[in-house]
Amino acid sequence: MPVIKIECDELRRLMRTEMSDAELMEKLPLLGCDIEGYDGRYIYAEYFPNRPDLYSVEGIARAYRAFFGIEPGLKEYSAGEAKNFLIVDESVSGVRDFVVACEVENVRLTDELIAELMELQERLHWALGRDRRKVSIGVHDPSRVTPPYRYTTVAPDGIRFVPLGYREEMTPRQILEEHPKGVEYAHIISSFDRYPVILDSRNNVLSLPPIINGELTRVTEATRRFFIDVTGTDLRLISQALNILATALAERGFTVRKVEVRYPRQSLTTPDFSPRHMKLRLSYVNRMLGLRLEAEEVKSCLERMGYGAGLNGEELLVSVPCYRCDIFHEIDLVEDVAIGYGYGNFPASLPGVLTTGEKLPLEVLCEKLRMLMLGYGFTEVMNLMLTNERENFSRLRRHGEAVRIKNPISEEHTIVRTSLIPGLLRTLRLNRHRELPQRIFELGDVVLLDGDAGAPRRRRLGVAVVHDRASFTEIKALLQGLLRDLGVEYRVAPAEDPAFITGRCASLLVGDDEAGLFGELHPEVLENFELEFPVAAMELEVEALELR
């Protein structure tokens, strides 16, 4: 999630407040953010992915002006009548279908402001644009290009221009292959025969969306006007991105002017700053929040959150600002009423729902097993379930199949364990310099591949004991004790498992089901785990014990 670097002085100026830094830090989270740091000049605050309108200091100031009653209610923005137009060529259809645009006048820039503007763009690319796939923004200085503009496509080598930050002309194909931004974002357009471009009336390239702008329209401190294009695959999203950006610039005191976007079959004039209207039922608000607010109170909560609100009996008519893109449903307004009301101001009630608590039968059995294992002198350990084939199979001289991760973090964690014994031996290895005897157990899950059923989990009890005279008898005595304590009828049959010494390994049978395996571990297994004393171990299926 984006961390916004907020200069306290600038925020105070934009908010028109005198609040101290400390007060700001205490109060910013009331609207929803995590304070990540403060260095005496800047506050670093992380805002949530559903509020890209708070990804700039201007947007943040706007929200808090309303919240603290400095300027509550709907903030209206106006845009001058369109002077220029942008023609959309039919060929963009299916490639990157949509574009919106605006112009900005009376621009006054510093290097710092340019940097902030670029950061806002990148955050919008991330949050709304899914890393430019759905939305990408180009901000241009139009002084060296000539409208009207055209949004069209070109063949990969069909045009040459100097990309931003370069000196030589390149074709779009070269940019995708050589330019760092080209390489980074090539995957979005490289599958098409033709690439989207924005040109002026003399075929100068303003941008190759969503990759890079041309050097010709670079924004500098001398820039006095902007031409802004937003292209993408979803008209609603690109319009929201444009609104967030354009209103932030308007908050700076710049003047926004519309651009006419001429699609083949219709014409749009963007940006459209008009609010959306939604109805909010007072009864719904009170039911969801557990409050008894009057319509007036809800209205003032909404205004603290930057909405316009009118009363209509038991309903409120809410004007949703054009920069909000997280309002899908009435419930989203309810949350903002709650934030406007203040989470700290809620009465603490308890639900009048009468229920009885109930443990899972499996957990009840595990609690008993734990009690018994402690009584037998075994200490509980916990291990990670993620492991690798070497540890889970090879080191036990075993082979098998396990749930396998497609995108593991390291070679150490590629599969999910199918047995508890490797983890126990690993624990013994870690403790090999500690005093003996060591008696440990783990009650945990393994996951087994099971064809159509997917990969069910199984609760197991794993036990290991290491000391100079650890033996089959010791582990069998424990098993007998446990099963006697639980009242489970069972049989023991000789078994073969490569992890155990032949002739010193047995399986536990409960009814006809194999319910566990125990014995003395093979010396090669001990060597594999760097253990120099004999180890006896067992692994039981807990659920098999439960059913009896």
Binding site: R133, G290, A338, I339, L384, N431, I440, A455
Partner: protein, 497 residues
Amino acid sequence: MELSRNEKLVLKALGELGSAEPEEIASRTKLRVSAVNRALYWLVRKGLAEVEEEKDCAVALGEEGRLYAERGLPERRALEYLRSKGGEAEISALGEVLDKDEVSIALGWLRRKGLASITGGRLALTEEGRRGDRTEDEKLLERLAQGELMLSQLSEKERSALELLRGRQQVVRIEERSLRKARLTRRGKELFAKGIELEEEISQLTHQIIKTGTWRGKKLRRYDVTLPAPELLPAKLHPLRIIIDEIRSIFLQMGFKEISGPLVESSFWNFDALFVPQDHPAREMQDTFYLEKPARLKLPDRRIVEAVRRAHENGAGTGSTGWRYSWSEELARTALLRTHTTATTIRHLAAEQKPPIKVFCVDRVFRKERITFKHLPEFHQVEGIVVGEVSFADLLGLLREFYSKMGFEQVRFRPGYFPYTEPSLEIEVFFADKEKWLELGGAGIFRPEVTEPLGIRHPVLAWGLGIERLAMLRLGLEDIRELYMSDINWLRRARVR
């Protein structure tokens, strides 16, 4: 003044010996050295004895020294050779009796000790050399070969010989030692002079003593009950388990039913059913473990799948706009390791919908995190759900109740964000130890786009937290890995609260 039997024995021994080391006292009294030391400690505390620490040095042979003691110093061997050759020989002939690197050592020392002179490659014994008397350093070497000596016991001559030996590499080792010498104080001596009467005392009461009644008329020795006893370490539950059980018990007390669900889960239950759009960043490969085997899982009932599809595409008649994209069933089938226990709660809600429902789940979840001191790729999460005629105010009340049972009296809430809850909040608790507010959980009401497609008509309150973070704070751990490293000593010593 009351003295134990051992104290009396030691006092008596000191009275007779004057001043002595604990070992001497031990051999005289037939007590173990540790018992003598304990008795001395008490005699000192009672003002009857004093113990002085003396520093001395132990001198012993080094590696090379032992070799020389056996074979003779190089110059001695050269000298004997010369004597056998009539007192003169070529230097090069020394190779017959010396190792190559010993020749120069022998030459150096022969000259330094005035035993031989060199002229033009020939070596000739001096007067003294011809006599061939043993030198002081050789005598000391011999004594040291019998065992280590204390520096304070060496004569003046031996000390200068030692200096010579120290001039050679690894011939002698000198170690500082401290000696404890005990003697009686004036009061101790007075007591000793009055005569010490030793009466028989019983320390460990035994079966035999009780059975035979021999304890009668004897004294049962007083123990110092303030002395530390040996450390006893029990078999123990894992500290994380103790916290998990504590949380389970809080939920059970509050009337919640325990549930569990699969670890290997479909994207459908982990994401789609929770209204997380299919291109949401949280789903990306950098956060979630996807599976190669099994790669796909079955989807539930057609009716549920279609309802979820509609929620994503158009809001499914909930009044929501939905995400407005074409939802892919194939993506929903993708298998993964569940990233949150909410996958299990939503499964449960899809199956059981009749309110009131109060369920909870404490279980493992997986995130694609590198292992560091503060992150693990798997951890435990706890989640509680209430379905019924309930509200946001109830959620806040429940949270206050829950966290106060966990021992956090100061709790505060602030807006948060989760894709599947609205309103959402983050919970902060005040840690008195750290004097800090720390985030410890998130909560919210499930969005209508989540509940309505599953046929749930009532608000669903949900909250959850990661347990390892709490465990680290409780246990004072700086490194989360310790929870799964299971150092047996740590486990045995860990506090149970």
